[in-house]
């Protein structure tokens, strides 16, 4: 083992320079031509910067709500609830979310509430809703913002991102982008 100690130390040092150093610096260099220079993709609105991939908490009635989050959309401490599916406390939480939703959106049929709206995401930062999760909130938004329902519905449809190449994965709606578009619509 002694004879392999010196080569091992030297090899470790030079490999750290290559793999921790050179490899990362080259990718960092290439990232300078990527969107926002590799600092995370952003959307601008009213002169403010937002990260389009990082979900935000939306709880006010005038906005499309985002999904529940176990970490309250803390982007410096991501995580899920890690609740097991039959945990009684957890099921009470879900029931409470359903009840809250029905209070804020009277007239919605319970069996139409999509499960994504009452369950917490894995990261606690989910930027998306399913199309159904956005569409079911249309009547509330229209009522609170005094907009025609079909106009709000059209806005949601315009913001649906289709599956990759139209073939792979689920369709989704970015909640932040949808709410920015909604604010713009209200200003008109």
């Amino acid at each position: 083992m002694k004879s392999s100690l010196i080569p091992a130390v030297r090899l470790t040092i030079v490999l750290i320079l290559l793999l921790s150093g050179v490899y990362n610096l080259v990718i960092f260099g290439i990232a300078q031509i990527a969107p926002n220079h590799g600092k995370g993709e952003i959307v601008m609105y009213n002169g403010k910067v937002y990260y389009s991939n990082i979900g935000q908490s939306f709880t006010e009635d005038k906005y499309f709500w985002s999904r529940p989050s176990a970490v309250n959309y803390n982007a410096a401490g991501s995580g899920g609830s890690n609740m097991s599916p039959f945990n009684k406390d957890y099921l009470k939480t879900v029931q409470a979310r359903i009840d809250t939703f029905l209070v804020h959106d009277p007239g919605i049929k319970k069996q139409d509430i999509p499960v994504g709206l009452v369950t917490a995401s894995g990261s606690g930062l989910d930027p998306d809703l399913s199309p159904a999760g956005a569409l079911i909130q249309v009547p509330r938004i229209a009522r609170v913002r005094h907009l025609p329902e079909n106009q709000v519905r059209a806005l949601v449809h315009a913001n649906i991102q289709r599956p990759l190449f139209g073939l792979f994965g689920p369709a989704k709606v970015n909640v932040l982008k949808l709410n920015i578009a909604l604010d713009k619509l209200s200003l008109k």
């Binding site: 990232a31 097991s84 369950t119 689920p170």
Partner: protein
């Protein structure tokens, strides 16, 4: 076809299509044959050899190989302890994260040198960028360690008679320079242009549209996530791992990460076929592994897309599936697929929270780690399967009444003893660990309440999962387990040391012993390993050992939990 299902099919097919030629390439690399990019790699490798004073022409026997492997791993461990404990004052710490406690650093350092990547810390607050860069080095180094061991075993299975298995450093360095580094580089570039950050800036602060203050962690994510998957390491840059939108921004990156983590485990099997010129043997092994994989993954996709019956009973629309702990952009199906892919191979990265999966989905994930050789981690997956082959050859040989032999070399008491020790060590570590933890817990459930996030059977599953994951060098968790305590840091640290190095040393020792034996050409009486019958035989051995070892513990955890609702 449903786009969620077609996405999964596309991922599997793409993995297969890439890994076949990659396997041929890997075989060429280990044989030392010429490859297309020699003009690029030769000078780099020569430089590495010269600087470190390594002579790759010096062949090593199995003991020298393992001594070299253990020595360099020990250096990585010590350096890792030092960096993790002192990261607070070392450079590249823009978020001013504190140094790790000794027990946490012990766990983290071991967990990354062993390719496990169990993380008892949160990526956002528990490590500096310097530590992340060092962990990235370990991603490469631990993966290459496993691959070098597999290459030594390939060498030992050749028909020639020798006590030499090639040079450890040669296999190790070439695994990095010719396989891991170039492929990671391509993947990282794909990531950079699809929304993954690659920056050395610290947290950003902004006001959300609704008016809340938000702090947003960033970092050199793209380079990290590329090798994290290619090397089946799995340790996350952020706490939420590949569920985090910066670590896995969309369905495209999800597909790339999924394909990246499976190509080398697939390719190593094909590489064996090309290396030994026994392609049929490779196909039989691959078929057995795929059978096992499908038996686990199809039920998981089905259960997760069906959703949680307890929530369906509340009368809402659960057609999206079991969405607790899952991200909308991946959906339940791709999350179910990932849950098994990441546990059959030893990645342990997650794109959804395993703790919130349906009970029997959780059981399948544990089974994947308890078997630990359906594809398996880079290099070591094949080593684990090799142990089961030896057992199957021996049992098969007894059944037909002949001396057991594999590829023309006799399997005798010595090889059998090693294979059995390695095969039984796995359940021993998982079950003993879980039993000890359960014992401690029941002594004073209120004192250890923070251990378990969920009561009852699922709480037991959280502990069982942790030791299964540790022993399989997987690194995923039922993350509700409060593992940042000295008991978990230290006990899993020691389990890791045993469960990583003995299952590498054992198969290499068998290969070394087989290599030194006389080659007997195949005759009419030889038990042929490249037949469907032998494949089924191996599958049966795996099934019986797993079922006998683990059924009681699974009955206490996920199976009991299942029956609480049904």
């Amino acid at each position: 076809m449903d786009t969620e299902i077609s996405g999964i099919v596309c991922m599997f097919v793409a993995t297969l299509v890439i890994s076949f030629p990659l396997g041929r390439y890997i075989a060429k690399v280990y044989e030392g044959q010429r490859t297309l990019l020699d003009p690029v790699f030769n000078p780099v490798e020569k430089f590495l050899y010269r600087i470190s004073g390594i002579h790759i022409s010096r062949e090593m026997n199995w003991k020298q190989q393992m001594a070299a492997m253990l020595t360099i791993n020990m250096i990585w461990f010590l350096l890792g302890m030092f960096i993790l404990m002192n990261q607070s004052w070392l450079p590249l710490n823009p978020d001013h994260n504190p140094g790790q406690s000794p027990d946490l650093a012990f766990n983290t350092a071991i967990s990354f040198i062993t390719n496990c990547n169990l993380q008892d810390y949160s990526g956002e607050t528990g490590v500096s960028y310097l530590s992340q860069l060092y962990l990235m080095f370990l991603h490469f180094a631990s993966a290459a360690t496993g691959m070098a061991a597999a290459a030594a075993v390939f060498n030992g299975l050749k028909s020639s008679t020798t006590d030499k298995l090639g040079n450890f450093y040669n296999y190790f360095i070439k695994s990095i320079t010719r396989i891991l580094l170039p492929v990671s580089f391509i993947i990282a570039i794909l990531f950079v242009f699809n929304g993954m950050p690659m920056t050395f800036l610290g947290k950003d602060t902004l006001t959300s549209l609704q008016g809340a203050i938000m702090h947003i962690s960033r970092g050199p994510v793209a380079g990290y996530v590329a090798i994290k998957h290619l090397g089946t390491n799995g340790g996350g840059f952020f706490n939420a791992n590949s569920a985090h939108p910066f670590e896995n921004p969309d369905y495209f990156t999800n597909m790339v990460e999924m394909i990246a983590q499976m190509i080398i485990p697939f390719a190593m099997v094909f590489a064996l076929g090309f290396y030994l010129k026994r392609k049929k043997l490779a196909y039989v092994i691959f078929a057995v592994m795929t059978l096992g994989f499908l038996l686990l993954v199809i039920p998981n996709i089905s259960m997760e897309t069906k959703g949680n019956p307890a929530i369906a009973a509340m009368g809402i629309n659960t057609s999206a599936g079991n969405m607790e702990g899952k991200e909308v952009r991946f959906g339940a199906a791709a999350s179910g697929y990932w849950s098994i892919a990441t546990t059959v191979i030893s990645t342990g990265s997650v794109n959804s929270m395993h703790d919130s999966f349906m009970p029997l989905s959780g059981m399948n994930m544990m089974l994947a780690m308890m078997v630990n050789c359906f594809y398996g981690g880079v290099g070591v997956g094949f080593l684990n399967f090799f142990v089961f082959i030896i057992l199957a050859v021996f049992i098969g040989g007894l059944m037909v009444g002949r001396t057991p032999e594999f590829l023309g070399k006799k399997i005798e008491a010595r090889e059998m003893k090693i294979a059995l020790i390695v095969a039984l060590l796995h359940p021993f570590l998982i079950l003993t660990g879980t039993a000890l933890a359960s014992y401690i817990y029941v002594q004073d459930p209120s004192a250890y309440a923070a251990w378990l996030n969920n009561p009852g059977f699922h709480g037991f599953s959280e502990m069982l999962y942790q030791y299964a994951s540790t022993t399989a060098n997987n690194g995923s968790s039922f993350a509700g387990l409060g593992a940042t305590t000295p008991w978990w840091n230290i006990s899993t640290g020691f389990v890791l040391l045993f469960s990583r190095y003995l299952p590498i040393i054992g198969p290499v020792a068998i290969a070394g012993s087989l290599a030194a034996k006389k080659y007997t050409p195949e005759s009419a009486g030889t038990l042929k390993p490249d037949t469907a019958t032998f494949g089924l035989m191996t599958f049966a051995v795996i099934f019986i050992i797993t079922a006998l070892s683990f059924f009681p513990s699974l009955a206490l955890g996920p199976i009991a939990e299942y029956f609480t609702f049904h």
